[in-house]
Amino acid sequence: MTDIPLLSLAIWVPILGGLLVLATGSDRNAPLARMLALAVAVVGFVVTIPLYTGFDTTTSAMQFVELSSWVPRFNINYHLGVDGISVLFVILNAFITIMVVMAGWKVIEDRVAQYMAAFLIMSGLMNGIFSALDGVLFYVFFEASLIPLYLIIGVWGGPNRVYAAIKFFLYTLLGSLLMLIALLYLFMQSGGSFSILDWHQLPLQMEPQILIFLAFLIAFGVKVPMWPVHTWLPDAHVEAPTGGSVVLAAIALKLGAYGFLRFSLPIVPDASQELAWLIITLSLIAVVYIGFVALVQADMKKLVAYSSISHMGFVTLGFFIFNPMGVEGALVQMISHGFVSGAMFLCIGVLYDRVHSRQIADYGGVVHTMPKFAAFFMLFAMANSGLPATSGFVGEFMVILGAVQFNFWVGFCAAITLILGAAYSLWMYKRVVFGKVANKHVAELEDLNSREFAFLAILAFCVLAMGLYPYPFTEVMHASVNELLRHVAVSKL
């Protein structure tokens, strides 16, 4: 098992498969493109399963490591590996790709091959981000993943797609340029190494630490997105096609959060401690402020987009309270948010495909015509408001416990989400699903078809399984998280 380059497969199967899908060409071959895309997505997922089954939970070291020289002159390596922090995201990403292919099955009729290829390639690139252990390799994947998403929004998006796509691109590009400078600085300081693991051990003075921290903060903070650099996300979500929103929420937002754990905390631990108050403040603003903003949204996608920002606030909060409960809770929250926000966007997509509106006011009484849909949507809305027995509860609960342990008032502010999350999720649900049939569009709705039922049922299973038995998820993380926190506690000065 060990000699199979699993991580390379996880990266290159979707990318090469995507190119193959692209080769089917015009929309005449659309059915073939769809089948091929699904096959590639499934294979891409299957190759990630051994990453979990073969994972050694007792060590914090990198596993499934692949190392070969790429650009010897600058000591740049093709260096891959995963630990307890990243492995679940590779699997989640491969899994979500299947959902996305299924979600775009009938809905996308225009440039099908290109659409499917874009998602597959992006999936491979994002696996690259989660498993890259070389700074340049990471950067290349990080930047390259922008392009498919940019195209997805710009080509298959809504009426205002160009504004949204450019806003998204510029926002994130601005951030990553600062990261590039930081990476080059670290290359110089470390005497010519791009290895992220070497950088973890690199002693640094406080001043450069702070500067590096800020550079990373901007790069990753935009991706997360953290308040106040979050405004690209609602626009991007609203314009993106359903699949784009799903990937954006489920995976792309995690890249930034992952960056904090892989770069900021271990490379500049002293600055992280020094500036933790800043991140905690921004996170709490995200949780509370954005929670209120989500409450008044009239567009369902915007509402879920804001709710995503609020949930991601929990993630960054959990990282910077520096206790295992907080960090693991944040990681659990990231995975759960992948399922739940993905499912929420898919649910909205199901409605949008039928009525072609995302306005809450255009709905009402959907339960009469779509009872099955209503049941799934209820589950996901409840998961979004953190109800126990759903995955949404686990991470929130852990982060709140960790936050109370850190400081009562931080926990107090974080716990406000209990009320706000329920308020915006269920108020939307009430207006869309309950009540009398609002108009003839709703009266004509057809309930889920078997394809839609399938992907919602799979996600529902994940949400419930993780909520009822999170043990297998947290088990993977312990060693790496403990090692990370131990590392952060040791000063580099």
Binding site: E328, L387, A415
Partner: protein
Amino acid sequence: MTDMQTLYLLVPLAPLAGAILAGLFGKAIGRTGAHVVTILGVAIALAASVYIYQDVQAGNTFNGTIYTWMVAGGLTFEVGFLIDSLTVMMMLVVTFVSLMVHIYTIGYMAEDPGYQRFFSYISLFTFSMLMLVMSNNFMQLFFGWEAVGLVSYLLIGFWYDRPTAIYANLKAFLVNRVGDFGFLLGIGLIAAYTGSLNYAEVFAQADSLASQEMAVTGWPLITAICICLFIGAMGKSAQVPLHVWLPDSMEGPTPISALIHAATMVTAGIFMVARMSPLFELSDTALSFVLVIGATTALFMGFLGIVQNDIKRVVAYSTLSQLGYMTVALGVSAYSAAVFHLMTHAFFKALLFLGAGSVIIGMHHDQDMRNMGGLWKYMPITWFTSLLGSLALIGFPLFSGFFSKDSIIEAVHASTIPGAGYALFCVMLGVFVTAFYSFRMYFLVFHGKERFGNAHGHHDHHGDHDDEEPSADHHHGLAPGQKPHESPWVVTLPLVLLAIPSVLIGFFTIEPMLFGDWFKDVIFVGDNHVGLKELEANFHGPLAMAIHGLQTAPFWLAMGGVVVAWFFYMVRPDIPAAIQRIFKPIYCLLENKYFFDRFNEIFFAGGARALGKGLWKAGDQALIDGVAVNGTARLVGWVAQMSRLFQTGHLYQYAFVMIIGVFILLTFWFNRG
């Protein structure tokens, strides 16, 4: 896993299996299939509970883990059971009342298209409630806590067509979430300072908690923990000011009002505090807080019961008031009296609710008491069982409610904790109020002139509220000339079966529960608190207590309430109308439920929306997007615009600029040195 453990597991899982079968395969198994599987599930749970009860009585308690849910940050999160006398009593109450409600539902929901769904929900509720009471740790407690809230949400909004119902269920969920907010912080504090979520391990460290202060705020830790936990109880058990959801929850079908919003779920808060007695006993401040909140609820919610015309709402306010009594008992450290009242109340209040439901069936879904009257002739079983339930509620000697309520009043009397004087006043006056509104309802419904079949002339009655008037679409009522009829046996059988414990259970259980060893090792009362000790010294058997009860003030207050109700509503019906006219402002205050709803609607709901809108428009759109993002874009555009001016394409301008440049350069170069 031992046989007993399998049996413990069977208790919650049997109703869960029923719920899953009825919920997911409702179409396949049909209506009969749905009620058969769910009733079977609950019956198994009841039978197993009885067996476990005997086992516990033989001295076999259990505290252990079923499975490890998660391990993180040094904390182990487990799903496990704690089976002791308190748990098993709750299990019996929950499964018994649930079984009665399941049977009753066959009749009550007979014509409803959501029949299977309803059975699935109530079985799911039974599962959740059992998980809550059987838990041995805070995480599972919170699990059950939220799960019962979810089912309550689903059931209040069961008729999702009705705007009032879907308003009420959202309100119920959100208000409960406010309570949960405090509850979760309390659990967080416990986890942070004890490093455990297991009851037994936490209680073992109670003394060390009591000696600590909270970091950051410097508050006494134990008081903060207890008040946070109690805020959770305030939400679930509907204590002022988080009570506002319970009256509105009457929008749900009547069986769930009986099961969830009277007998079981709303008492979860009481149960929780009783379970946490080793913690609460260490903080007098928290106990005083509990006491004052409970006393306020007991009296002031009772007042509201007087002015209601909807039969279910009278019972709902009576539930609020009785929950207040239980909370008072907790506040004076009479935990066992609180749990005792919880139990008796579960029986007689479920009975009253189901009786009200039977009346509603008989009246063809008219809930307005002003359209009733003289029903005793037509519905003899409903009438008689309701009378028994009302007597139990007002605490008539020998009825179950007498023993529990009198014990609470005596315990308040003996207590010296700050607030006890106020509480005594509230609970004493509350006895009169309870008797008055209970028998006002009783006389209006079952006696006096027959007012039904009157083509609904009451609609223009002044002082009616839109939200109280049952919405028009389901408001059938009796046609002129039509007579009410007794309900089918599936409805009356549960009434009879509930009437028996409502009358008898207090007599037989007061001695073991309050003064015996039943709750020994489970409920803890500190030496500095009187609790029930004084009462115990004066207790000479239940019969003596009942006879003594005839000479005490509460009895005469209750009788006074009954007589006044009789006089006002049977003899001189013009008096209440006159009082209403004279004391218009007070009536208005009561009619508007002390304006809690309006305040919440304007201040919290409206405030949150306004704040959200403000942050969105001013923060996100104007400041961040308007100034920062698009401003940057405009700035870049402006700079580009400016620099473009220099590139005019005219050679003479370039030449001119170049000459100036050379001139400046040379000047500086020559003057350098």
